[in-house]
């Protein structure tokens, strides 16, 4: 029982970052209809920016996470404006292949810049775990969970309460009508891609110090983000949050009770099963945003 509780807590920490990744991707996929295979590379970018900020500049952990978000959002903006905007009328396959190209370029650029050896990211938290009754949690992991929750809440507020968020929801529901009502679709797409990429970078900056930073870390992150999107339903923010937590917990339980070698298979199996039996996701009657 104690062991189960411990697995649940670990799963929650992992799931919080998966939710961040998934929210970013579900916005991009749902709103722009772009299958963004480069999503995981923004996650990797976040981890490396955090590594540079903490290791070299020696800044505060908060500042490092903010720097990662800023870098991810800026690069996401550039990607959208230069690559995706000219291809807006093209088929979904074309943009998907372009994002695969971006994925390859970013990953190998990271490999050239940082080398293939995994980097351990320094963090200011004590390593002694906090013991709360039957479970132990490292202070860093607790901080990751809290910050992930805060970022998810902020994204939700952005989409529900701001003018930009309302424009995003309108674009998701009906792009042409939104454009006729004076929503600048180009601006909304760029903002969506920047927001999604920024959230992915945040996830990387948060999870990087928990594990290690290495150039191919984004490959599995991309697939897990897709798994979360499929679990939650396209463009569904609460769905992606729940889906992320669910995936994190399922992975921890799978690794703990079945086999740690097949930990990453959990996401793949979920993708296949959900697409087969509940293609619109577990939590939604239909596709929607926020």
């Amino acid at each position: 029982m104690d062991q189960l509780l411990q697995h649940l807590v670990n799963g929650l920490v992992l799931g919080g970052t998966y939710a961040l990744l998934g929210i970013g991707l579900t916005l991009i996929f749902g709103l722009m209809n772009v299958v963004n295979f480069a999503h995981g590379e923004f996650y990797t970018l976040g981890a490396y920016v955090a590594f540079a900020a903490l290791g070299w500049a020696g800044v505060d952990f908060f500042v490092a996470v903010l720097a990662a978000i800023a870098a991810g959002a800026a690069l996401g903006w550039v990607c959208e404006v230069t690559l995706l905007r000219p291809l807006r009328g093209e088929s979904i396959d074309t943009t998907m292949l372009v994002m695969i190209g971006v994925w390859i370029v970013m990953q190998n650029a990271e490999l050239l810049a940082w080398g293939g050896v995994a980097k351990s990211i320094p963090h200011p938290f004590p390593t002694a775990p906090l013991v709360l009754g039957p479970v132990a949690i490292a202070p860093l992991r607790l901080f990751v969970l809290v910050l992930a929750a805060a970022l998810i809440a902020a994204s939700w507020l952005l989409i529900q309460k701001t003018k930009l968020g309302r424009a995003m929801r309108a674009t998701f529901q009906d792009r042409d009508t939104a454009a006729l009502m004076g929503v600048g679709i180009g601006r909304i797409h760029a903002a969506t891609f920047a927001l999604g990429s920024g959230l992915a970078a945040a996830a990387g900056a948060l999870l990087g110090p928990v594990f290690l930073a290495y150039p191919s870390m984004g490959d599995l992150a991309s697939l897990k983000a897709f798994c979360v999107v499929i679990l939650g339903g396209l463009g569904n923010l609460p769905g992606a949050t729940l889906g992320g937590l669910l995936l994190g917990i399922a992975e921890e339980l799978g690794a703990g009770y079945i086999s740690s070698g097949y930990r990453d298979a959990v996401g793949f199996v979920i993708i296949i099963l959900v697409l087969l039996f509940r293609p619109s996701g577990l939590f939604a009657r239909q596709e929607r945003i926020a």
Partner: protein, 320 residues
């Protein structure tokens, strides 16, 4: 012109071992194996319009099946090759059945997940696959009394496989089945409404395509004589996709042109650029191709030969 265009490549391909060095022959063999793989991917991507990003799984299944049967059960090469194709084809049937109702991005995700699971199995099922260490000492194929150990003999084996796959693709594409594939790609509801059993043909395409990739995997295993979980690397799938997109998807010659180009190019670049720079260039090239040559090399050239440098009516300058 067209007759020369048809016979010259065949003549060059047949006489290649006479005037190439061993190293260059190695490049030619790899181009041939990738030619088989690109033809296989093109059947799905180019003709039915469904992108499989799990094609390395069928390639890997073929490679492992062939290697395990010849190593553990001491089968000879030919039945092992047939078994590799059959098992890869069965995997294709499974994926095709699984994704009957899925199109576009969702089809891609199912294929990629399938490949992910298979790859994890190859790493973790150590009793069968020897895990990450791989299987060394895969025997060279034999044809009657002769061993196909030499590069030139293996070259002809691969060439025969390429010719066979090309012929199968050509026959299939020009048949009723091929027309059903294209109908499915162009307008699925319309195809269905005139009585084309769309899902049935998608499964047929997946099975043939996967069996062909399995053939490529078997040829690869008996050529490099070593199989490890690296055969499932996503790089292989991406390479196949780039070959098909660059050469021209939905054409018969396109994948072969792409395969030759993207095997020879990295080998020539090898002296001046490291692997990472090459992959970086690959990624850039993929993006540039999609922007500037979206239909691929072969359709562009045939449009040029036909005297229509811009066959796309939208690209023509408007008349004043």
């Amino acid at each position: 012109m067209t007759r020369i265009g048809r016979w010259l490549p065949a003549l060059v391909a047949l006489t290649l071992p006479l005037w190439l060095s061993t190293y260059h022959l190695h490049v030619a063999i790899m181009a041939g194996i990738f030619g088989v793989l690109a033809l296989s991917l093109n059947l799905l991507l180019g003709y039915t319009g469904q992108l499989s990003l799990g094609h390395a799984a069928f390639f890997g299944i073929g490679a492992y099946t062939s290697a395990l049967l010849t190593l553990r059960l001491e089968w000879s090469f030919w039945p092992a090759l047939a078994a590799a194709m059959a098992l890869a084809g069965a995997a294709g049937w499974f994926v095709g059945r699984l994704s009957l109702k899925l199109r576009g991005a969702y089809f891609v995700l199912v294929t990629i997940s399938f490949a992910g699971v298979i790859s994890l199995v190859s790493v973790n099922w150590i009793e069968l696959t020897n895990g990450p260490l791989g299987l060394p000492g895969v025997p060279a194929p034999e044809l009657g009394p002769w061993s196909l150990r030499t590069k030139s003999a293996y070259y002809y084996l691969v060439l025969a496989a390429v010719a066979l796959c090309y012929a199968v693709c050509r026959r299939l594409v020009n048949s009723r089945i091929g027309r059903a594939f294209v109908a499915l790609r162009e307008n699925e509801p319309l195809a269905e409404s005139v009585g084309v059993e769309v899902t049935h043909y998608l499964v047929v395409a997946a099975v043939v395509s996967a069996a062909m990739a399995g053939l490529g995997g078997s040829l690869y295993a008996h050529y490099t004589r070593f199989v490890s979980p690296e055969v499932f690397l996503f790089t292989y799938t991406v390479t196949m996709v780039i070959m098909v997109v660059a050469g021209g998807k939905g054409t018969l010659a396109g994948p072969l042109v792409g395969a030759v180009l993207f095997t020879v190019l990295p080998e020539t670049l090898r002296a001046v650029a490291s692997w990472q720079w090459q992959m970086l260039a690959y990624g850039l090239l993929l993006v540039l191709l999609l922007f500037f040559l979206p239909r691929g090399i072969v359709p562009q050239i045939s449009a040029y030969i036909a005297g229509r440098p811009r066959s796309d009516p939208g690209a023509r300058a408007p008349s004043p």
